[in-house]
């Protein structure tokens, strides 16, 4: 994160692919210009000396939250399936994945 490198349209499209987002041409232009501004505004962070500073992983310092591994049945299975945009009996329906 040195002096923020200009973000190109190709960069925006690559990020959108990684994020699984389809964007219109207008959105690509908008995000390109806004990304440059946003990255500029956060560039100061790269100048902060963080040598020997550990990254935060939990603000409470909780490492592992353990509990008994007890099964508790969920009583509203149908409601889960009913939320699906397409279903087949108790299954979620998706386009064919394997040819």
């Amino acid at each position: 994160m040195e002096k923020s490198s200009p973000i190109t349209k190709e960069d925006v499209l690559k990020i959108a692919t990684l994020a699984k987002l389809s964007l219109s041409a207008d959105e690509v232009s908008l995000y390109q210009s806004q990304f440059v501004k946003i990255l500029d505004s956060i560039a100061e962070l790269s100048r902060l000396n963080v040598e020997n500073v550990p990254p935060t992983s939990s603000v409470l310092g909780i490492k592992n939250a353990l509990r008994e591994d007890q099964a508790s049945p969920f009583d509203n299975m149908n409601a889960l399936i009913d939320n699906a945009p397409e279903k087949d009996g108790p299954y979620f329906k998706v386009p064919k994945i394997i040819e």
């Binding site: 501004k37 935060t56 409470l60 939320n83 386009p95």
Partner: protein, 487 residues
């Protein structure tokens, strides 16, 4: 205005419990207030009229049978629409979740039901809680009841407006970078972001899991404490909820502030702070001085890095959390996708609004190969330094007093085209989320344009009870007028 809608939550609970008031009358009065006012304010996405009246009648008959009622007996409560209430649509104010019926109750909703609260509706928010003005809702913009041309703040703007306009005495919000405190300040309310881990997040649709915390919004500290007492506590279903979480908060004011040390972090009073806000905050602090508090100038030297740190960490967590909205199991699904990948891309492209897409993109970028160390890891290290600033300063003082926001409520459209300007409106509230401490906004005055000003008080982690006591002390001195413009 019906007097029942001016009652405090504590008063309603007391009167419903002792039989001098019917829960049904209380619910009906608030529903009627929603009917007359919400066409102007637009706080609610869903109003649960039948459900609220039915639950209220059940509470009345429970009492008639001689059973003891809960802490929130008959108290109407509005719930931010990113918290699951079983059988009720939960949208996050996003097209991608339109029609999603919650299959279970959030842990805190189950608790509210046990305490005999009456859930009256689901409130508007910036889509997926990303925003500071409610202008990012995919459905409509909530107005500030003090001035309908001004934003109510965000992202819990609907929850703030509902309580300020007396459509409910209490509401729940969620706070990731100020989303409870900033709208509370803009709408003249008490809004608390509890210590991280104090309140279960199970059933809150996650935005940035390491920062999100649910908290109360109310017209008084006493009511905020009552609601916190009803929802706080350790929950096995949320592995980040703390075994240290307390379950009772009184909200009673201090008799004296003798021996209390209040820090004024100089970074929060720099240039750009509205002079009216500076003056109101100092008035409140000077009052604490007169009752014995010691006021000290202190420094949180890494404050300037907080917004940048937040705008790397929060979008990174959001990019990961929002991966679940893919059109397979719930919500919107794009038509005519020829492959699974296309289904994901089109569904998400159509379903998410501009700010949500912007943050998913930003987070994806910060986490991507080649940038992870420079952005995400750097930000998590900066976060450690920001948290250490608070640890250090809390060796010198018991609380910090700051403005909640740099300005009072701004007008619609004023910042909506410039994401960076909008991000800076959370400059004073973000650090507490990064550090995980307890933080609240309490009204401390009005601007000459008759808009509320919020005083932010910050306490070390798990000092929520003491924080509420200090806020109650300020509240008593300020005697803030409960007269939102539409009233």
């Amino acid at each position: 205005m019906n007097h029942l809608t001016s009652l405090s939550a504590a008063q309603i609970a007391k009167n419903v419990s002792d039989g001098s008031l019917k829960a049904e009358e209380v619910a009906a009065a608030h529903l009627s207030r929603i009917k007359s006012e919400d066409s102007k304010v637009k706080a609610f996405i869903t109003v649960l009229e039948e459900h609220a009246l039915k639950v209220a009648r059940q509470i009345d008959s429970k009492r008639a049978q001689g059973k003891k009622l809960g802490k929130l007996a008959g108290v109407p409560i509005a719930i931010k629409d990113n918290i699951l209430v079983k059988g009720v649509e939960t949208t996050c104010a996003s097209k991608i979740l339109k029609g999603f019926m919650a299959p279970y109750d959030a842990s805190i909703i189950a608790k509210l039901k046990e305490e005999d609260a009456v859930i009256i509706g689901k409130t508007n928010l910036d889509e997926f809680a990303m925003g500071s003005s409610n202008e990012n809702s995919a459905f409509f913009k909530t107005k500030n009841p003090w001035n309908l041309d001004a934003v109510p703040g965000g992202s819990s703007g609907g929850s703030a407006a509902a309580v300020a306009a007396k459509m409910a005495p209490l509401s729940l919000g969620s706070d990731t970078g100020g989303s409870i405190r900033q709208p509370a300040a803009f709408c003249g309310l008490v809004g608390l972001k509890p210590t991280y881990g104090q309140v279960s997040r199970y059933g809150l649709i996650a935005f940035a899991s390491s920062l999100d915390q649910i908290g109360p919004m109310a017209r008084s500290v006493e009511d905020a404490a009552l609601l916190l007492s009803s929802i706080a506590g350790h929950d096995l279903k949320d592995s980040t909820s703390s075994p240290q979480a307390a379950t009772h908060f009184s909200g009673a004011p201090l008799e004296s502030a003798c021996g209390l040390r209040i820090g004024m972090p100089r970074e929060y009073f720099a240039e750009g702070l509205d002079p009216e806000i500076r003056k109101s905050v100092w008035n409140a602090v000077n009052f604490l001085k007169t009752i014995g508090a010691e006021v000290k100038d202190v420094s949180l030297p890494h404050t300037a890095y907080a917004v940048a740190t937040y705008y790397i960490i929060a979008p990174s967590e959001a990019a990961s959390n929002l991966a679940r909205f893919d059109g397979v199991r719930y919500g919107h699904r794009a038509q005519d996708a020829r492959s699974l990948s296309e289904l994901y891309e089109k569904t998400r492209g159509e379903g998410f609004g501009p700010e949500v897409k912007r943050r998913i993109m930003l987070g994806t970028y910060a986490l991507s190969s080649g940038y992870y160390d420079a952005y995400y890891n750097q930000a998590q290290k900066a976060r450690t330094l920001i948290a250490q600033d608070f640890e250090n300063v809390f060796k010198e003082v018991d609380f910090l007093a700051t403005p909640t926001t740099p300005t009072a409520a701004f007008k619609f459209g004023e910042k909506s085209s410039d994401p960076v300007a909008m991000y800076l409106s959370d400059i004073f509230t973000i650090p507490s989320n990064l550090a995980g401490n307890a933080s609240l906004s309490v009204p401390c005055g009005l601007t000459k344009d008759h808009l509320p000003i919020g005083l932010q008080l910050i306490a070390p982690a798990f000092q929520d009870e003491k924080l509420l006591a200090l806020a109650a002390t300020v509240e008593k001195a300020v005697n803030f007028p409960q007269i939102a413009g539409i009233g």
